[in-house]
Amino acid sequence: MKLYRTWAVARKEYLHIIRDPRSLGMGIVIPVILLLLFGYALSLDVDNVPTVVWDQSESQVSRDFLSGFQGSPYFSIVKFVHGYGEVDRAINSAEALAALIIPRDFAQLIEAGRAAPVQLIVDGSDSDTADTAIGYAETVAQSFSQQVAVREVQRKTGRTLDLPLDYRPRTWYNEDMESKNYIVPGLIAVIMMVIAALLTSLTIAREWERGTMEQLISTPVKGPELILGKLFPYFTIGMFDVLLAVLMGEFLFDVPLRGSVPLLFGMAAVFLVGALSLGILISVVTKSQLLASQLAMVLTFLPSFLLSGFMYAISNMPQPIQIITYVIPATYFVSLLKGIYLKGVGLEVMAIQAGLLGAFGVVMVILANDKFKKKLE
């Protein structure tokens, strides 16, 4: 392999890029737009669940109970209604996702020291939100029950009751449970995967389609020289994208970056080599720009988006799907980025992920080189 030939290919490819505004746009503008779009729009937080209340008791006790909901950031009481007909209408029209129904004898039952039934109706057509709303409502109800019980004991015995359990939940790494904090690092991985593969998927196919490849393979240029030369300028664009994404995470989304910045960029570099080589491999195999770009999109976007652990926890997936996630390179990069960003940990705990990411890169480079033939069919 001759360095001067690799360098010549890299320089030529760089000229192609700066002369074609579309490829620059795809390489730089699209990742930024995607990051903005998903960063702002994709929020998995459930808060301010619009709720209607039918308080048939209309007592001090029921108002105490409701204050627990009013004070919670997770519920927002939008309306007081009277009757199931109105509850039905509110949920049907999506005015509310949940309804809280307090029976007429609520206060009397509580004062008599008996269990008072409270009904929560949720809109199951949005089951994630429904699940979360039920969980939050349970917490509010539990704590109200406790308060009542404590007060009752105090009234009867005259002394304060200490609860046997002092339950103190605490969320590490993402204290405020903000979804953007784990979405943005994962998003960087997904976007880089898609853009990198897409960028290089066109390069070799374009030369075959334009007929410039026939000229090129009649020269002494070697396959690895051609492939590495083509990787180089796109690698630069990719690293620039990572820099942009990190800056946007820092200044636009306020995502805490607790780990090592050099490690972040180092891992991004390893990941990029693999993703760019995957694009080249696709280009080498298909020899058609249209087919290559479509294949690159299908092979990268959906798996990275759905199966990398970016959106859905891998541990919740069925076993066969979990096995598939192991062959998706974005999986390792997502977990590395989350680790570096939120946990501030380094290779001491993520050596396996880093190693597998490196292996992906090596395999892709080897495959792309192996599949490229300096011959016409």
């Binding site: 010549a8 030529k12 000229l15 000229q215 009649s218």
Partner: protein, 312 residues
């Protein structure tokens, strides 16, 4: 020493035989023309010899190296201009030339002198900075030639280099090729133009993958079966129709005011044709035997070939 030597070189695509047992030798320092109609196997032959396509069977050596076993050694020593413009339209003339200079590892020292020379003899000097995509067809071909010559190759392969190029540019192009011969470059050129074939030192007529005739243009003309009789006549169309109808055994062709009759028995046909025209009252020159042009040869050889295929 031979610059190119092939032995029973064969290439088939599925059922189709593109190049069929091709055995030719091209001597160092000559222009060899591969001449034939579209689809005859010219481009496939080019690709086999430039080692960018593997033959199905047979052997070939270019500049002393085997096209399969030593393909990369060949690529160091040849220049190739594919039929389709193979350069980058979004790169300028200089950027294209420099790219190929880098790829071939042309030393920095002496490179700019070589580039200046190439630009000067291809008249591209004023267009150094122009994007290749904005050049005219003729200039594109010259740029392709300059890129293929940047490393001073031993053998130059040109696949229909003047296809679709205007006559003036074609003449310029051939002027450049003759200059190259002085640099001891062997040129292997394919063409469908017979006036270009005439300019080659030696040529091979290829048809359906087979070489039908091989030699200098004069030698090739000798293989003409029979002779040609030329008649000059003002009302050539009427005379042509008449002769065609009366002389069923012979091949009659119309070229403007001239009619060519290809025949194996010139004495008999000469008097017959004169009599037919006289009887019809057509004023014409007496039929006289002429030297066949390459075009006549190829038309008759190809017609012969078709006839024998049909007979089989």
């Amino acid at each position: 020493m031979s610059a190119i030597r092939t032995s029973k070189l064969k290439k088939t695509f599925d059922e189709v035989v593109a190049v069929d047992d091709l055995t030719i030798t091209v001597t160092e320092g000559e222009i060899f023309g591969l001449v034939g109609p579209d689809g005859a196997g010219k481009t496939t032959t080019m690709r086999l010899l430039t080692a960018i396509m593997e033959p199905t069977s047979g052997d070939a050596w270019v500049a002393g190296f085997h096209v399969v076993k030593e393909a990369e050694a060949i690529k160091e020593r040849i220049g190739y201009m594919s039929q389709k413009f193979g350069l980058y339209p979004d790169l300028s003339v200089m950027e294209n030339i420099n790219f190929y200079a880098d790829i071939y590892g042309v030393p920095r020292k002496g490179r700019s002198k070589r580039i200046d020379e190439l630009l000067a003899f291809s008249n591209l000097t004023p267009f150094k900075q122009r994007l290749a995509g904005n050049l005219s067809g003729g200039m594109k071909q010259k740029l392709g030639l300059a890129c293929a010559l940047i490393h001073t190759p031993k053998v130059l392969f040109l696949d229909e280099p003047t296809n679709g190029v205007d006559p003036v540019s074609r003449r310029d192009f051939w002027r450049i090729l003759y200059q190259l011969l002085r640099e001891k470059v062997t040129i292997f050129v394919s063409t469908a133009y017979l006036d270009e074939a005439e300019r080659c030192n030696r040529l091979g007529l290829i048809y359906k993958g087979q070489i039908l005739a091989l030699g200098t243009p004069d030698e090739v003309k000798q293989i003409m079966p029979g002779a040609i009789l030329e008649i000059r006549v003002a009302d050539s169309r009427k005379a042509y129709q008449l002769l065609k109808k009366e002389l069923r055994e012979e091949s009659v062709g119309l070229f403007g005011e001239r009619i060519h009759i290809v025949t194996r028995d010139p004495q008999k046909v000469e008097s017959e044709a004169a009599k037919i025209l006289q009887d019809a009252g057509i004023d014409a020159s007496a039929p006289r035997p002429i030297e066949p042009s390459l075009e006549d040869v190829f038309v008759s050889v190809l017609a012969e070939q078709e006839r024998s295929e049909q007979a089989r």
